[in-house]
Symmetry: C2
Subunit: 307 residues, 2 copies
DNA sequence: AGCGGTTACGAAAGACGTAAGGATG
DNA sequence: CATCCTTACGTCTTTCGTAACCGCT
């Protein structure tokens, strides 16, 4: 049995194999020969006394033990990375390493990508993997560092911070209505509606500035799961829509959309940041998140929390 | 620069050196040559870019970075150990590894040591380091797994569980008073007192079963920091004493001591178990703690918490 | 066939122990 | 001068890449 093989390297190789679903691909990533990677995986399995990855020729799959091990491996590697970083913090700007982040599609496209790119430019030694996805992700499976999500992640093993609230309002193209405004929420029922699938059904609750609530049943004439599509539909006057304020702030300024019910608002959404407990003290992760939050603060219609 | 040295081994060597205060001693423990241990320490320092241990010939001392690193090193090694154990759990009884525990002196002497010994006997592959100490310990410095303490540890980085409450009462030798009982707390002021230094000063608050409070100023005729000494003094009739019920349950039964104020009690103490976050999932640590708690449950006058 | 994982073998790399050097109380 | 850490050197273990082998699609 080999003794001198770095156990942390074993974990790294294993994690790479698990995520790439291929030993040879992982070996390429790590600058090893396939043989080496294969041997390291076998070695780890021997040490732990369990099969971690089921090989069925051209098909690798994690065993249940493999799933558990992957989470642990990330935690351990994260802790080591944090230790290595800890004392490099003194030399600012010398950040290095990898960051994997997942953010909501629209927020990513319109605002956060610029911040992510800027961060990478300031820290050239850091490699950023930037995924835009609105769905619930399998956080540990993909080895994510930061996950920004609308709503609150369900996974209780994650560290979750509420970072902002998203104000939403009822808007429509000025061409839709002669008056440009309507008086009471109930009048919405007579107007067609552009609905955004993932966020709400076809009924909605509005709250007035005084705290009064109104339940409105909307008749959806256009339903989409993509906010850009919904936006286009609304601007072209198909119907009214419930939109995050940050998303349509410019349209309001230029008069492409109007606030149909200025004294009423749709329920706010919460924006959360989820972090794995693994690299808790990672400086680069902290700074990256701070950078994203800075960008969010610039966004009109977004109410940042925590200083 | 060496590349293939197991980073976890580096951490282990460092931790051993830090705790033993000597490279050669650590090397002996680990079955290495002094040269190897020295090299490994140097290698770790190079990797982290910081001096961890100050060598002043015949005197090793941790730098401040060394202190931080030691805590991290324990966490990382603990996480790896937990990973190794995780899949061995299936074979019960096959526990192995080391446990370092610190418990209060009196509790250890009278009750817990039997449990610790029993545990070791059931798991011969486990090595138990068993320290009896009432003082605040530097948990991470000594690499402790389980610390049972009267009161609540201050270190916020530890996982702390309240495991029992300790009922305390005012007792005295029947030879001290003709009546064997007194009526009101204030009457204590006229009787000499045996005081236990670490737990309270010379004033004390008593609570009646109905919730009434009474402040009593006692005149100490015998002050000691050792509960066995205090006990002897009390039994020999020097004065009354405030004692944990579990400690004097037998004396009450045999009439060596009497409950002076059966309807009044001194403030309860809380017994806590502190664990380092490091080896959170360590099976052996969990089982060991459970074993100690089982023993505590047998103790008369101790109120266990959490099932 | 072609792609991917495992096993065999030679070569190179690195770590270990021994031993010498140096500093301190 | 005894102790303890550091550095140098030769040996030996171990790992790596190449390459052959095998099992699927």
């Amino acid at each position: 049995m080999s003794k001198r093989l770095d156990r942390l390297a074993l974990l790294e190789t294993f994690a790479r194999i698990a995520r790439r679903g291929s030993i040879s691909a992982a070996a390429r990533d790590l600058g090893l020969s396939q043989a080496s990677a294969s041997r390291q995986l076998a070695e780890l399995e021997t040490r732990l006394g369990v099969q971690l990855i089921r090989r069925s020729t051209h098909e690798l799959s994690l065993t249940s033990e493999g799933h558990q091990c992957l989470a642990d491996a990330d935690a351990i590697r994260g802790a080591w990375d944090a230790l290595e970083e800890r004392f490099r913090e003194d030399q600012p700007g010398a950040l290095r390493g990898a960051i994997r982040a997942v953010v909501p599609v629209a927020l990513g496209q319109l605002h956060l990508t610029a911040a992510a790119v800027d961060f990478q430019r300031r820290h050239p030694e850091v490699s950023v993997t930037w995924t835009l996805d609105d769905e619930e992700i399998r956080f540990t499976e993909i080895g994510c560092d930061i996950w920004i999500k609308i709503g609150r992640p369900k996974d209780e093993r994650l560290i979750v911070r509420s970072i902002a609230t998203i104000e939403r309002m009822v808007v429509a193209s000025p061409t839709l209505l002669a008056s440009g405004r309507i008086g009471r929420p109930q009048q919405l029922a007579s107007i067609p509606c552009v609905a955004l699938a993932p966020f709400e059904g076809h009924r909605m609750t509005l709250t007035s500035k005084r705290g009064a609530k109104a339940m409105v049943a909307a008749t959806a004439s256009f339903v989409t799961d993509n906010i850009f599509a919904a936006h286009q539909a609304a601007v072209q006057g198909i119907g009214f829509a419930v939109m995050p304020r940050w998303f349509i702030a410019e349209d309001l300024q230029h008069g492409r959309l109007v606030d149909l019910l200025p004294t009423w608002r749709a329920p706010k959404l919460t924006l959360s940041a989820a972090l794995s407990p693994a690299g808790r003290r990672s400086k680069r992760r902290q700074l990256f998140l701070a950078h994203l939050l800075d960008a969010l603060r610039q966004v009109d219609g977004m109410d940042p929390q925590h200083k």
